[in-house]
C-alpha cells in the first residue's frame, strides 16, 4: 500500500505537466485554417490542440475570405466553382452556390465581400463545352446579390481594360470600391461608376518613384487602413527601395518611410499595431525581421532554420510567431528571441490562410 501511494505521488506531477498548457502561450484566441480534409480546422491557441472542425459541403477549400464583421467565412472550393458561406460562431454552413450550370463551367478566380454583406464581387471566367470544343468566355467582374442569391449585374471593366487578376478593396462603409491598377480608380457601389481617381502612378514625392501596391494583409488593421512594406523605384538610378507604409483609403493618403533596399520580405502586423514582423525567404536563407511600426524603423533581422514556402502570423497576444503553409504543421516561434518552441501537428494539409479570431 505504501509503495502504491509513493508511486502515485511520483506519477502525479508528471500527469499534471502533461496536461499543462504550453508556455509561453500565444493567447486565448482560436486559430482557423482550411484543410485538405474538406474542412476548416479550429485550434485552441492556449492549448495548441484541435478544438473543433467545420465540415464543408463543398469539399476542399481553396481560400477563406473573412467578412468585415468577422462572423462569416466565404469559402471558395478547390475547383473554383463553388462558394460556401460559413457562420463562425455556430460553426455551421449556411449556404452554398455555384455559377456553373449545364455544359457551362464558371470558375471563380477571386472574390471580395461587401463590408455590409449585401453582395460579393466575383472575378469569373466561363468555359462552355460544345460538341467539338470548349468555348472560353471573357473574364468578367460580376456582382452576386446575397439577398437574391443570383448574379444581378456585370460590372464594366474600368476604362474598358480587362484584367486577369484584380486587387479590389472597399471603403469601410461599403459605399466606395477601390480598384487598384496603375492608378486607383474609385467607384461608387450603386451603379459602379467612377467617382474619383487616386493617381498612384505619379510619384507621391519628387524623386521617390511610384509606389508598387501589391497584396497587403489588413487583418490586424482598422477597416480602410493598410500597413505593410511597399516598394518604390527611383527614376534616376532605378533603385528599388523598401518602405514601411500605412495607407488610408478614405483619405487617399499613404505615409511611407524608407527602410532600405527592396528584398522579398513578407509582412505581418501584430495585433497591437505597434510591432510588425517580416519573413524573408530565399533559397537556403531565412530571416525574421522586426519593425517598430510606431517609430517606423527596422529593429533587427535574425537568421533562422526555416523551410521553403512559409507564411507568417503573429499570435493574439503578440508573444509568438506562427509559421504555416504547405504541409500539416504550424511551427511556433518566440517573437522576442525567434527561438523555435514547438510544432503544432495537424492531421491534414493546409490549403488556406490562417485566421486568429477571438472566442465568441
Amino acid at each position: 500500500m505504501t509503495r502504491l501511494v509513493l508511486l502515485l505521488l511520483i506519477l502525479a506531477p508528471a500527469g499534471l505537466s502533461a496536461q499543462r498548457p504550453p508556455t509561453p502561450s500565444g493567447g486565448d484566441h482560436l486559430l482557423y485554417i482550411g484543410t485538405y480534409a474538406g474542412s476548416i480546422q479550429i485550434f485552441d491557441e492556449t492549448t495548441e490542440k484541435m478544438a473543433g472542425e467545420i465540415k464543408l459541403n463543398t469539399g476542399i477549400p481553396r481560400s477563406l475570405t473573412l467578412s468585415q464583421s468577422r462572423s462569416k467565412f466565404y469559402v471558395l472550393d478547390s475547383t473554383l466553382e463553388k462558394i460556401e458561406i460559413v457562420d463562425i460562431p455556430t460553426r455551421a454552413s449556411l449556404s452554398t452556390f455555384t455559377l456553373s450550370e449545364g455544359n457551362k463551367q464558371v470558375r471563380i478566380r477571386g472574390l471580395q465581400v461587401d463590408p455590409l454583406e449585401r453582395f460579393l464581387i466575383l472575378l469569373t471566367r466561363s468555359a462552355t463545352k460544345q460538341i467539338d470544343r470548349w468555348e472560353i468566355g471573357d473574364i468578367a467582374l460580376q456582382l452576386y446579390d446575397l439577398a437574391q442569391n443570383k448574379v444581378t449585374r456585370t460590372i464594366p471593366w474600368p476604362k474598358g481594360e480587362e484584367r486577369e487578376n484584380v486587387n479590389i478593396r472597399f471603403s469601410p462603409d461599403g459605399k466606395l470600391l477601390y480598384f487598384f491598377g496603375d492608378d486607383v480608380l474609385i467607384l461608387e457601389t450603386t451603379n459602379f461608376t467612377e467617382v474619383d481617381t487616386w493617381p498612384l502612378s505619379r510619384p507621391i514625392e519628387a524623386g521617390l518613384g511610384r509606389v508598387n501596391f501589391g497584396a497587403v494583409e489588413d487583418f490586424n488593421e482598422d477597416p480602410g487602413f493598410l500597413t505593410g512594406l511597399f516598394t518604390t523605384q527611383d527614376p534616376i538610378q532605378n533603385r528599388r527601395i523598401m518602405n514601411l507604409g500605412r495607407v488610408n483609403l478614405v483619405a487617399k493618403t499613404i505615409d511611407l518611410t524608407p527602410i532600405g533596399p527592396a528584398e522579398g520580405v513578407g509582412f505581418a502586423l501584430a495585433p497591437d499595431r505597434k510591432r510588425g514582423y517580416g519573413l524573408m525567404q530565399q533559397i537556403g536563407r531565412y530571416e525574421f525581421w522586426a519593425f517598430d511600426v510606431a517609430q517606423k524603423k527596422l529593429l533587427n533581422r535574425t537568421a533562422f532554420e526555416g523551410r521553403p514556402r512559409m507564411a507568417l502570423r503573429v499570435s493574439s497576444n503578440g508573444r509568438l510567431l506562427y509559421i504555416f503553409q504547405a504541409g500539416a504543421t504550424i511551427d511556433v516561434y518566440d517573437a522576442a528571441s525567434y527561438k523555435h518552441l514547438r510544432t503544432v501537428e495537424m492531421n491534414a494539409d493546409q490549403t488556406t490562410n490562417l485566421f486568429i479570431l477571438p472566442r465568441k
Binding site: 484543410t35 485538405y36 480534409a37 476542399i60 481553396r62 478547390s78 475547383t79 496603375d182 502612378s201 505619379r202 510619384p203 507621391i204 514625392e205 519628387a206 524623386g207 527614376p235 534616376i236 538610378q237 532605378n238 533603385r239 528599388r240 493618403t253 499613404i254 505615409d255 511611407l256 533596399p261 533559397i283 537556403g284 523551410r307 521553403p308 514556402r309 503553409q325 504547405a326 504541409g327 500539416a328 495537424m346 492531421n347 491534414a348 494539409d349 493546409q350 490549403t351
Partner: protein, 125 residues
Amino acid sequence: MKHLTPINHKATRIEVVTSSEAARPEGAAKDVVALQGPPQQPEPPHIPNGCSLVFAPGWEADRNGGTAGLCQPVERDLFDCHMGCFWPAQVPDQLNHAPDWTAKCAAAQKDWRKIDLIFPDEKKK
C-alpha cells in the same frame, strides 16, 4: 508628405529634374538621365507563378527556375501544388477524371501510401 529639402545647388537641380519627370504626361518619352543604371535584379526565368502549367519543363520549378527552392520533402507541398498548379504531368486530373484520387489521404507527408494509383480507363479506349 515631403521628407527631403534641398540645401545646396546640386540637390535643388535634382529636385527640379525629378519634379519635371513627375509632371510629364503618362506615356511621354523619357529623357536619358545620367548615372541611370540597369535594374538591380535580373529578370527571373519565365515560369508562370513558379508552376509547371504545361509539359515544359515537365516538373515544378521554383522562382529561379531550379528545384532547390521547392518544399522538402516534396510530399509537404504535393496537394497545394497539385491544386494550384495542377501538375498535369505528374498527378491525376482531379478536376475531371479522378476527383477522389486523394480521398483517403489528407496529409501527404504522413499518409502518402494511401494515395490511389490511377490507371487509364480501358473502357474509354
